[in-house]
């Protein structure tokens, strides 16, 4: 700790940080542009000038850039000094000489860092009378809009895109006052994190193109804290609504999970909520929408009373919905709506995470680990933000060199200059090519079984107590030895694996490595990626597998099935689901989006998406996080759990109508299931008021309240009331900082842009005030009794006439809901299969030619891509694509001619 005197007042601050972040953490308003909490300082924009004094007798002082100056003890600085203030004013005046006169048509307006900083410094009139510089814009694809005239040359975009996110196709061009930020030519931005440019850019050069389709100012949005539903990481998001449709997704800072950024699937995948594929009509039966009302529907469902009803849960529905369904149909009739493989793997992952001994690492932990081994997971496509965290982890070892050179870690330009291209250890073992390879120490492409064997070998080398692997090639042996040595040498090694390869052995191998590491050193971790946003939550609730449900139905024992937010055709093969549906008389489907299963429903109940529902999700590290309803949907659409409670009135003697809100459901759940204990305490209960007030979802500048619905009726109706949380749907309420778990938007006086998050943190880059939200359910203690998995798979051998079909994931296309969003759907590649060159020549197939094969009796005909990065005898099939029928992979593909 050191003492820092700011304008004569002493403050206790932690040393080692720079003056700018220290001043911001203390609550001072100091303008800046080029500095970003995640990117560090480069001292390029000269905006954050303050005065530093030598000692008390020094009256003149000198101007310094606060972002480049470390805090020292008993330092005297002045923010309010006249000269410093004038300097800052001049800098912004120069930056603004070329800024176009277009705030009115700029999407950034109202949440613009440049606007905020200009107001903060006091600059108002342009004295420079010469002409303004202009640029041509570029077409950068469906996600990002480019308006180069607005640029103030702070370099944050390329620093994020290239240095932080590892992108290759955005750069600075030209020189002096002509510097241009863009691609070398028009085209889609390749990085999976391009959406963050909209938040990183302090002005409106890069803006969200999907927001532009239905543009709304930040102050006009009804916003609520939410959780991303497009992969298992559970990134925290802010979702904003206007006029009954969801308008945008923004990052919601979480110190442990997503930090300052989001991936493009999470940011732009929201449009399915407004898409024409949404189910908006409350009820329809047998395809007809006429003459249906809720009373008739409920009557029809209550006629099922007494018959055998099974419930099929969903990995993309909330804990609450799955729980109520399980209670409704009873323990023995509840089935998890996931494939056999996912069922097995999720249970395995749950066992590993809950029993330990290794600690489940959060994304922040991964960023800080100094050796990473990824086994069987293409992170960029299955858990994109984790890939971003891994990209930061390779800097950890080189950063030690920076520290020993007495350079502060935040001094980004100096640190990168010293590090150059040096990278810390990252080992990848994947089925096919993955984008992380450019930062990897070494990469190995193999079939799942062979990957698992390497994993088991590494575990054996770390701790000879685990089973040895026979018949390894020399290459594999030396690779395993290298990995084992590196992991043992590291201070915070982490093993990352997951279910995307569909192989138990891979996960078991990863578990063995982490257990062995944990035995040798206490600071290691494990990250296991699961298929969907609530896969772990569903697993915790527990139930039987989908195949059992199909068996029961085939025996004729099932009279009705309630399917909860689940497209069964994505979890089981077409013939199997068709058979199940035809042998079950009543198919009640609750879902929000039209899919193959909803088309087969006899009774279809439209439910709310994440934006229209309250619920809790459990992410891949076992962190239970609550998402809040953003707006009240039209047409009586409700959360699935609300519908199910209502259905229980007709179906059960002892129904659940005493559960009035989300809190009642989650309390009952927390009481019943031991492992999720405390899940009802992650947000304040709905009766809590702050100073007698609710937390408003709307900003104090929200406009149009007396006009937006005046075309329907000039008398304003009462705003909807929220019974599920202590937030309100209006602009009235508590105006201070709400508890960290219910921050609907980041705003602070003078800070309208997303940069206002500084004001919500304990200190810059640390956790939110009051602790980061959510509850970690798995905290394995120091468990020394390590039990290794022992069955090691046989070496993979190519079989003549067959190829082993393995799943390949795509960030755009493999996930169900985001694929229904307009912008994301434009980025989905054509269906294909990948095979090795040797297989291609033996099949006499050239690039682009179609090959035919059969998996589980289903025939496929897809164009070939030839790659040397896939093992011989293996075929990679993209999963989740509309034109690629589902199969439970890995499985043997029988080649046809």
């Amino acid at each position: 700790m050191s003492t820092l005197y700011i304008d004569g007042k002493p403050f206790e601050v932690s040393s080692g940080k720079n003056l700018l972040e220290t001043c911001l953490s203390l609550g001072f308003d100091l303008p800046y542009f080029c500095w970003h909490p995640a990117l560090g300082s480069v001292g390029a924009c000269r905006q954050c000038a303050v005065k530093v004094y030598k000692d008390e007798n020094d009256k003149r002082g000198r101007l310094i850039m606060s972002c480049m100056e470390p805090v020292t003890n008993n330092q005297l600085i002045s923010i309010d000094d006249v000269e410093a203030k004038e300097f800052r004013d001049h800098v912004i005046e120069w930056l603004m000489t070329n800024h176009p006169h277009d705030c009115a048509v700029c999407d950034e307006g109202g949440s613009c860092h440049l606007q905020d900083m200009t107001v903060m410094t006091g600059h108002s009139y342009r004295k420079f009378t010469y002409k303004k510089r202009t640029y041509k814009n570029q077409q950068l694809g469906p996600f990002i809009n480019h308006e180069m005239n607005r640029c103030i040359q702070c370099y944050r975009c390329v620093r994020f895109y290239k240095d932080y996110a590892g992108g290759k196709d955005l750069d600075a061009f030209a020189s002096r006052n002509k510097v241009y930020f863009g691609r070398h030519e028009d085209g889609v931005l390749e990085s999976e994190f391009s959406g963050n440019l909209a938040e990183v850019c302090p002005t409106g050069v890069f803006t969200d193109k999907t927001l532009k389709q239905h543009y709304t100012r930040k102050w006009d949005l009804t916003m609520a804290p939410s959780i991303c539903q497009h992969c298992s990481l559970g990134c925290n998001i802010i979702a904003g609504e206007r006029y009954g449709s969801l308008r945008m997704i923004a990052n919601r800072y979480h110190g442990e999970v997503n930090g300052y950024f989001l991936c493009d699937r999470g940011r732009f995948g929201y449009e399915y909520v407004n898409a024409p594929t949404r189910l908006k009509i409350p009820v329809f039966q047998n395809g007809s929408t006429e003459d249906v009302n809720i009373t008739r529907l409920l009557k029809q469902i209550s006629s099922l009373k007494g018959s055998t009803i099974i419930g099929i849960g969903s990995p993309r529905a909330s804990l609450e919905s799955n729980y109520v369904l399980k209670k409704l149909v009873g323990e023995s009739n509840f089935y998890l709506g996931v494939s056999e493989t996912d069922y097995r793997l999720t249970n395995l992952i749950l066992e590993i995470l809950s029993k330990g001994p290794a600690r489940p690492y959060s994304m922040k932990d991964v960023e800080e680990s100094d050796a990473v081994f990824v086994l069987g997971e293409d992170l960029t496509n299955t858990a994109p933000m984790l890939a971003l965290a891994v990209r930061q982890s390779v800097r950890q070892q080189p950063l030690k060199k920076v520290e020993s050179a007495k350079i502060s870690l935040w001094n980004d330009a100096a640190a990168r200059e010293l590090i150059q291209n040096e990278k810390g250890p990252l080992f990848l073992g994947t089925i096919a090519f993955t984008k992380l390879e450019d930062v990897a120490t070494s990469t190995c492409h193999a079939s799942p079984d062979d990957l698992a064997r390497i994993g088991f070998a590494v575990a054996h080398l770390i701790d000879p107590g685990s089973s040895p692997v026979n018949e390894l090639t020399e290459l594999e042996k030396s690779l395993a030895q290298n990995i084992a040595n590196t992991l043992l040498k590291a201070e915070r090694p982490v093993v990352i694996s997951g279910s995307s390869s569909g192989s138990d052995a891979v996960i078991k191998a990863a578990a063995n490595i982490s257990a062995a590491l944990q035995k040798k050193k206490s600071n290691s971790g494990i990250v296991l990626v699961v298929p969907e946003c609530n896969s772990l939550g569903l697993g915790l609730i527990g139930g039987q597998s989908l195949a059992k449900a199909f068996d029961e139905s085939a025996k004729g024992k099932v009279e009705a099935a309630i399917i909860l937010e689940n497209d069964l055709y994505r979890h089981a093969t077409l013939p199997a689901v068709d058979k199940f549906i035809s042998s079950t008389k009543n198919i009640v489907v609750l879902d929000h989006t039209i899919n193959a299963t909803t088309r087969k429903a006899t009774i279809l109940i439209p439910t709310g998406t994440f934006a229209e529902a309250d619920g809790t999700l459990v992410n891949n590290e076992g962190r239970a996080q609550r998402f809040f309803q953003v707006y009240e949907p039209a047409n009586g659409i409700k959360e699935s759990w609300r519908w199910l409670i209502q259905l229980s009135e007709g179906l059960l003697e002892k129904n659940f109508n005493h559960w009035k809100n989300q809190a009642d459901v989650i309390q009952s759940l927390a009481k019943e299931i031991e492992i999720v204990k405390g899940v009802d305490t992650i947000v304040p209960p709905p009766h809590v008021r702050i100073n007698g007030q609710r937390v408003p979802r709307q900003s104090h500048r929200y406009s149009g309240r007396t006009s937006m619905l005046a075309n329907i009726n000039v008398s304003e109706s009462k705003p909807p009331e929220d019974s599920d949380s202590s937030m309100s749907y209006t602009m009235e309420g508590f105006r201070g900082q709400p508890p960290s778990s219910m921050i609907p938007f980041f705003w602070s006086p003078g800070w309208n842009s997303v940069q206002s998050v500084n004001k919500y943190q304990e200190e810059v880059g640390a956790s939110l005030r009051g602790g980061d939200p959510g509850l970690r359910l798995f905290n394995p203690g120091q468990n020394n009794s390590v039990k290794y998995f022992e069955t090691i798979p046989e070496k993979f051998e190519a079989v003549k006439g067959k190829l082993l079909a393995v799943p390949l994931h795509h960030i755009f296309g493999s996930e169900e809901l985001s694929s229904k969003s307009d912008a994301v759907s434009k980025r989905i590649p054509q269906a294909y299969v990948i095979i090795n060159g040797e297989d291609a020549s033996s099949l006499q197939a050239s690039e682009g030619e179609e090959i035919k094969f059969e998996i589980d009796g289903q025939s496929y005909q897809l164009p070939v891509k030839i790659s040397k990065e896939i093992q011989k005898g293996v075929v990679g099939i993209p999963i989740g694509f509309a034109d690629v029928p589902y199969a439970d992979l890995p499985a043997w593909a029988i080649l046809k001619t």
Partner: protein, 164 residues
């Protein structure tokens, strides 16, 4: 009594409205209109500042774009049953689009009829501020005005040039 008598010879303040109309100054704050620029394009660019400035929140709109990138309001609604004619919207408007004009004769028997949509608000003229064309000074390219063609703008930079 004498004073009262004298008043009989004063000029009358009362006029015979509605037969006789009152003369209002040009800056009188009455009915709100949306104006057009000199090229007859809609001046409103849908920036939402009028709506934000409105103390009774009686303005709502939705911005949209034509194929050339020119922004305009998809709908623009003013609930005059709430409007207090404070003129803040006009003050906030960066494009001189929204203007208050000297007309107050808006009485209706049905309150619903006081909800004005864009078709009721948009006039075919420039109103009080002739000659101003926002897009001529803004840096955004729209149909018929490319980058560097606005007032006080250099031609677009050639990124590939090495000349000083």
């Amino acid at each position: 009594m004498w004073l009262t008598f004298l008043h009989m010879f004063h000029k009358r303040a009362t006029i015979q409205y509605p037969e006789e109309k009152i003369k209002l100054p040009a800056r009188w704050r009455g009915r709100i209109v949306l104006t057009r620029d000199p090229d007859m394009g809609e001046r409103c660019v849908g920036c939402y500042l009028c709506a934000a400035a409105c103390p009774v929140d009686c303005i709502s709109l939705q911005a949209t774009e034509d194929e050339n990138g020119r922004r305009y309001p998809e709908f623009f609604r003013i609930n005059f049953s709430r409007c207090i004619f404070c003129g803040y919207c006009e003050e906030a408007c960066p494009t001189y689009a929204i203007q208050l004009i000297p007309d107050f004769e808006m009485g209706e028997y049905d309150r619903q009829n006081l909800v004005y949509e864009k078709k009721d608000l948009l006039i075919d003229g420039q109103g009080k501020y002739p000659g101003y064309n926002y897009y001529k000074v803004a840096g955004l390219a729209i149909g018929g005005k490319d980058k560097g063609e606005a007032e006080n703008e250099e031609p677009p930079i050639d990124v590939k040039s090495l000349l000083p």
